[in-house]
Symmetry: C5
Subunit: 126 residues, 5 copies
């Protein structure tokens, strides 16, 4: 437990931001064996350079059966809805973000939470 | 309790996503007798292929009297409101999602929470 | 305490949905002397049949002085804003929902929470 | 402590609503020496009688240095954005709400939380 | 621990508000060695004087690797989306807010949380 006291089990909060463009996917996959990482997505927004078309953000992650799945997250269009609150969408790594439609750029932002790993072993696959 | 320590009672978070179309309903009903499942709905959004009409998402679940009910959840229209934050709408299985109006596709996404079952017995029907 | 263990003090979550129309108010007032009820309002949305006018939802409940008050909650218009996230607005019964303006239909949805009653006696009126 | 048990330290939730108009500010300042009050603002919305102009809601409260400050909270316009979710903006009294621009009426609603006062003394001014 | 009892470890909530304009960045960096500060951003909105162009708010902070990063937070345009709920975006100081596009003014508001510092030492840089 490396000298951590009880308080330090609370997650630490860092800033996260990335930008999606056509053909440019972003991976969230921190390499770490002692700490647990989570992404708490807060906002998606367009850029002044984003073309006026529907931009659909897709995230690829793992479902409860341990399978890789893709979920369509949010649609933005500069002239209709330039920003959307994502309501604290928790992403467990590894995850990949990409544009399923539109050419962006679309900005994603949120909080990168880092906490002490807790042993959890009740996988469905056991 | 299968060797789980206190920390492991915290829910594990997986990615959830589904797509609704006219005549294509989606059921959330994980088969599991040892683990408890919940869906934390975060976002609904349109697709580039969604026709410009009002799409109304309906969820069918169970009310506090143990009766099956349908609730109209969210309305989206590509030219007016292509995405809506659902604010972490907690769905207890079994539940069914479908389009009550419009032909979609409408994408739903959120977090699938899996936790140890807790014995709860204060049903109204007792 | 009816054999409930500590875990069962956590609230149970059920689906809630109602539809408001001109002249049709909806009451949330579960009759229960052993359990505590709360409504966690999540979303308001229009219907394909809703006329294109401003629909204003009003809730009537109790303020901190124990007086009955009316609060204007949310305004929706099909061509401008067909859905609004209510952010988990907690309603303590008894409460009444109605349209203060517009003829609807407007759909409200959320979570009906049921938990063990906790003795609370620090009323302002004491 | 007036016979309160541990459970009663949890806040009690009441309904809050007010309406702002040009020249009509609203004060949130419950007079109470034994209980602690907080406002959890949830929604702002326009009225059918609100003129089609930008209405900017301002709140006056206290910053972390103990100074009185004004913060511009939310902008609404009937034809563009008739309702905004405020995401549970916690207001510690005393606070004053007013329109910094526009003539309203603008409705604010939320939850008035009442809890037992906890002795807190780590003021920056000490 | 300066005579603080257990309850006083709970954060105290103050009002925060700032206004961004072209060339006018705002720093959130409270000087304090005994207390911990956080900003819980709640809303961004335009002013009646904001030009009708896309205004993009950028925040500069620290990522989980200890590097300085810039994240594009939210886009607002008076005629399209005059206000956006930021969903309680937690900012750990030091942070800088500025307009990456547009000339504003854009108002940011939220809660400034002050709490007792907890010793946390599991930095990635160790």
């Amino acid at each position: 437990m490396n000298g951590l006291d009880e308080e330090s089990l609370a997650p630490q909060t860092f800033l996260y931001g990335c930008t999606l463009e056509a053909g440019k996917e972003v991976t969230f996959s921190p390499e770490d064996h002692e700490l647990e990482h989570q992404l708490d997505l807060k906002l998606a927004c367009v850029d002044p350079s984003t073309k006026d078309e529907l931009n659909l953000v897709e995230v690829e992650g793992q479902d409860a059966e341990g399978q890789k799945i893709k979920a369509a997250l949010v649609s933005l269009k500069p002239s209709t809805l330039p920003s959307v609150c994502l309501g604290g969408f928790t992403i467990t790594p590894p995850a990949v973000f990409r544009l399923k439609a539109g050419s962006g750029p679309i900005h994603l932002s949120g909080q990168h939470l880092v906490m002490m790993e807790t042993e959890q072993s009740f996988d469905e696959d056991d």
